[in-house]
Amino acid sequence: MRVDYALLDRLFDEWMLTDEGKKLHAQKATSDLGMTVMVFLLGVILICTIYYAVSGFKCIVGIFTGEAFETTISGAYRSNPNRFVR
């Protein structure tokens, strides 16, 4: 038994135009957006962790006490304006 992948692709494209296919596509789009947001948050945490490693505890405390990120990052700029722009 062999799979006709060309036909499978065509049938899948047709199925994606059905209500069920459109629903799946919408779910997938939502899921991808969620992943994008998660990666973004991980990036923020990574930056703050690096800052913590070189500059002490202030940044991490800022995250866990709910201090605004803008305040934390601008604090980094105040202590060393060249740290993120070298």
């Binding site: 038994m1 062999r2 799979v3 006709d4 992948y5 036909l7 499978l8 049938l11 899948f12 047709e14 199925w15 069920e20 799946l24 779910q27 997938k28």
Partner: protein, 135 residues
């Protein structure tokens, strides 16, 4: 991608439940023959039933023996079973009405959507694709 179940929930297999969890061997590789996929799925079920004397199978045997469904997830296969193909095991909820019977033993064929790096796949009805599967 094409997948073949390795293990079914007993109620799903017997028809007492319309849907249930199963462990599915998925191929993202179009060059892989279905017969080979079926053979590997049977072998993996054999590892679940009988274990293996080969110490390199310890991790996959432990993963197979952990047969309680805890949500959809992906389990990588050791290289010796992948043999260069893009294969992985997925825990999924399979809906019996989405599946089609095949002439390959007692195997049941299903369709799912996913990309090679995905942590989970989304089962979809197989019937619309029956013509392409030759069953």
């Amino acid at each position: 991608m094409i997948g073949l179940p390795v293990m079914f929930n007993p109620d799903l297999a017997s028809g007492r439940a319309e849907s249930g969890p199963c462990l599915v061997l998925v191929s993202f590789d179009r060059s892989l023959e279905l017969e080979h996929l079926k053979s590997l799925a049977s072998h993996l079920f054999g590892l679940y039933q009988n274990g293996s004397a080969d110490p390199t199978d310890a991790e996959i045997v432990a993963a197979l023996k952990d047969d309680l469904f805890r949500g959809q997830k992906r389990q990588e296969l050791p290289d010796k079973y992948r043999r260069g193909y893009n294969l992985a095991l997925f825990s999924v909820i399979l809906d019996r009405k989405h599946a089609i019977d095949t002439p390959i033993g007692a195997a049941v064929l299903f369709a799912a959507v996913g990309e090679a790096g995905d942590d989970q796949v989304e089962p979809i009805p197989a019937a619309p694709f029956q013509a392409a599967l030759g069953v």
